[in-house]
């Protein structure tokens, strides 16, 4: 089964770099949506003897990560009327290179983790850690609030991927917990973006520092 798993994980990894390297926000949303879709179908390959509960979960994941949340974000983007991240704290080339370094470190680090026998040679753990790192990078170095939300989504994708390892042990709980977490975060972030944009007529978060007085 891993022969189909590897290309999917590689595509998910490549999408990390697309998210880090492009400035058009619509393209980043598309990349994260596609990554969510891929993550949704990975459980089918990871655990071939899946029951009806699992299939429903897969369908819900794909719908949420691949379609609903991106649509919500596109709506927010249109509402705030921005298209590009112009000047991030770390420029795009450096973000891509930092993401690459993080991926390399994740690969090295995943060998030292105490995993189960069948999980040690999978690409899953390195790709998960790398996605977490890429999401963290986006969260901390982008100035536009929507990009920070996208970074948080990327982070959640990484955690979801890591949680797939536990699918056998705790089939239902992990997924629902993660997705609920995700939904709440997007909800809260959406409300915050609305308020920021209403208050400052832009969603540049550097203006938030004016509130410290």
């Amino acid at each position: 089964m891993s022969q189909f798993l590897d290309p999917l994980l590689i595509m998910a990894l490549a999408l990390n770099f697309v998210a880090l390297g492009v400035s058009r926000i619509r393209a980043v949303i598309n990349a994260i949506a596609l990554q969510g879709f891929l993550l949704g179908i990975i459980p089918l390959f990871l655990h071939p003897d899946i029951d009806i509960r699992g299939i429903v979960l897969v369908a819900v994941t794909i719908a949420l990560k691949g379609f609903v949340i991106p649509a919500f974000l596109v709506h927010a983007m249109r509402g705030a009327d921005i298209q590009h991240e112009v000047n991030p704290v770390v420029n795009f080339m450096s973000s891509v290179l930092l993401g690459a370094i993080g991926t390399g470190l994740a690969l090295a680090f995943s060998y030292t983790l105490p995993l189960l026998e069948e999980h040690t040679n999978l690409l899953l753990v390195p790709v998960a850690l790398s996605t977490v790192w890429a999401g963290f990078l986006m969260l901390t170095t982008r100035k536009k609030a929507i990009n920070q939300v996208l970074g948080y989504l990327l982070l959640e994708n990484g955690i979801f991927l890591f949680g797939l390892l536990l699918l056998d042990a705790i089939p239902f709980l992990v997924e629902v917990g993660v997705l609920l977490d995700l939904f709440t975060a997007v909800f809260v972030m959406g409300i915050i973006i609305y308020h920021i944009s209403r208050e400052f007529s832009s969603i540049g978060t550097e203006n938030l520092s004016e509130l410290k007085e």
Binding site: Q3, D6, P7, L9, I10, L13, A14, F17, G21, S23, F92, M93, V96, L97, A100, T103, G104, L107, L123
Partner: protein, 305 residues
């Protein structure tokens, strides 16, 4: 089929096919744009016409200006002898020949850019500067792809690296090969000056890279440049075809048409990519090239871990 016949067909294809590839790309772009487009054999007519025309040389130029087209053509002609078109044979094959292959392309780049600087015009200087910069980022991607192929095949001859074992390698290490394929496709686009790196149809010197370097050439020299560029496209296309369609049938008479078909498919894909994407902003091109290096790099890491 014995080697002499194979090599003869190899050389015949390398001499006759390249301008047709340019014609196919132009036709594909025209179809996408809703036009009829030029005839498929138009590049051949262009070449014949150019070789019969007179030339104008700038008074600023030296012998380097005339040497640029010659070096470009001769190095491409020698490089094509290393690339295997069907199964694992090429007319010239020895251990480490892929390094000579890559460095022959480097030699052609040296003289093409020097010829561009020879005219003393700011436009050519601009094109030369961009060309050498993007090549700096494309060379490591090419070499990392070669490293992946060397590891998979265990051989150091280009003909053997892209040889018979390719089909079985796809089933065992498909992910790594897919990464190399994507990375080498990006290298093809940048080395042959296609969109999204360079627009071969633009008329604005400020946006050209390759076209502006050949702005002052005319007549037979320009014909040599055109043919050399077509040959380079043939070389890189052949690499992609061997990587993507490693089909070897039992009959050699079937292999050659399959190769030509593969080349035409790759050319049509290039035309589609050119028609559907826009040229990247100049500062974003290095990011895409670094990404292609990273793709190949991950291919190596996948194989080595």
């Amino acid at each position: 089929m014995n080697t002499l016949v194979n090599n003869t067909i190899h050389i015949l294809l390398a001499v006759l096919l390249p301008p047709l590839l340019l014609g196919v790309i132009n036709r594909t772009k025209a179809i996408f744009a809703g036009r009829n487009g030029p005839p498929l054999l138009q590049p051949y007519y262009d070449l014949i016409r150019l070789f019969q025309k007179g030339s104008v040389f700038s008074t600023t130029t030296t012998w380097v200006f005339r040497a640029g087209p010659v070096v470009g053509l001769v190095t491409a002609a020698i490089a094509v002898l290393f690339v295997p078109l069907v199964n694992s044979t090429a007319p010239i094959s020895f251990k480490g020949d892929m390094i000579l292959f890559a460095y022959l392309l480097g030699l052609s780049r040296f003289f093409t850019t020097s010829a561009a600087l020879d005219t003393g015009s700011p436009f050519e200087g601009m094109g030369a500067a961009r060309e050498v910069t993007f090549a700096c980022l494309a060379e490591p991607a090419l070499f990392m792809g070669l490293l992946v192929l060397a590891r998979l095949s265990g051989r150091l001859e280009l003909a053997r690296m892209l040889g018979d074992s390719m089909a079985s390698n796809w089933t065992t290490s498909g992910a790594a090969l897919a990464l190399v394929l994507l990375s080498w496709f990006i290298v093809l686009l940048v080395e042959n000056c296609r969109i999204p790196f360079d627009d071969p149809n633009t008329h604005l010197e400020l946006t050209m890279i390759h076209e502006v370097m050949v702005l002052d050439h005319s007549g037979p020299a320009l014909g040599m440049i055109l043919y050399g560029a077509a040959l380079k496209l043939f070389i890189f296309g052949a690499l992609i075809v061997r990587l993507a369609f490693p089909i070897t049938t039992s009959s050699a008479w079937l292999d050659w048409p399959i190769f030509v078909l593969g080349m035409l498919i790759v050319t049509v894909v290039i035309g589609i990519v050119e028609s559907t994407t826009a040229r990247l902003k100049m500062t974003h091109i290095p990011i895409l090239l670094v990404a292609s290096c990273l793709l190949s790099g991950f291919g190596i890491i996948l194989l080595v871990r």
